[in-house]
Symmetry: C2
Subunit: 140 residues, 2 copies
């Protein structure tokens, strides 16, 4: 599997608000998946970092704090075009003023995030390897 | 998290050819995701079983043989409606005459699977627990 940086066709797709599913591992080693918003964080030295955001207290967050390894599959516009990114959380931060979830919410839907009264946490995931299938498979 | 059988709105969605992403665990406990076809296998005593099919020799298949635990997230028609199914492989079978991949291919696209010269393997996954978000969240 290749490492970042991403070739242009993969980068183009990852910059769009595509449907995505992430997996984390539980303590017993079993995987747990969930649909998620993500955004490619290309500011500063963050090349290849994924920004994910969680409501504090979520079980998934607990799993990820215990084992920072993440797999994210981003679906393309046809069923077969998809990109999988493997990495681990490089940085945690409290999303004190909901800047990060608003960034995600605007990216996906255009509006700030409607729920304002719950603590949220941001994980910045360093991508170690990635792979692509379908129309992006040539980019491997 | 509830156990099967699924309530009607969840079952209705799972019966449709929705986009889905599965995760397996590698030997080091890290998760790996990939987009996948699935079909709900409701024949015989298979209530709650998911049928997945793999090209023989795939790394993912190797991981799944070593650790049969699977998580599958099925995406609904809006970004927030999704169902996650947790389970493990209850039965393996060689897809000798490609019956199973053809069933999946017809379910998703209407045609038999175009690649006929590679060995394939079917996993039947017993669903232990599931959870739903979004429009199906009430069904939890």
């Amino acid at each position: 599997m290749p490492r970042p940086p991403f070739p242009a066709p993969v980068l183009d797709m990852l910059r769009r608000p595509q449907p995505a599913v992430m997996a984390v591992s539980r303590a017993d080693g079993s995987p747990v998946t969930a649909a998620t918003w993500y955004v490619l964080d290309e500011d500063g030295d963050g090349a290849g970092r994924l920004l994910l955001n969680f409501e504090d207290g979520r079980k998934r967050l607990e799993h990820l704090r215990a084992n920072p390894q993440v797999s994210l599959t981003v679906l393309g516009d046809s069923w077969y075009t998809h990109v999988t990114l493997l990495g681990s959380v490089a940085e945690w931060r409290d999303d004190v003023d909901l800047t990060d979830i608003d960034r995600l919410s605007r990216h996906y839907g255009g509006d700030p995030y409607p729920v304002r009264d719950r603590a949220r946490v941001t994980a910045l995931v360093e991508v170690d390897r990635w792979t692509a299938w379908g129309a992006l498979g040539d980019a491997r």
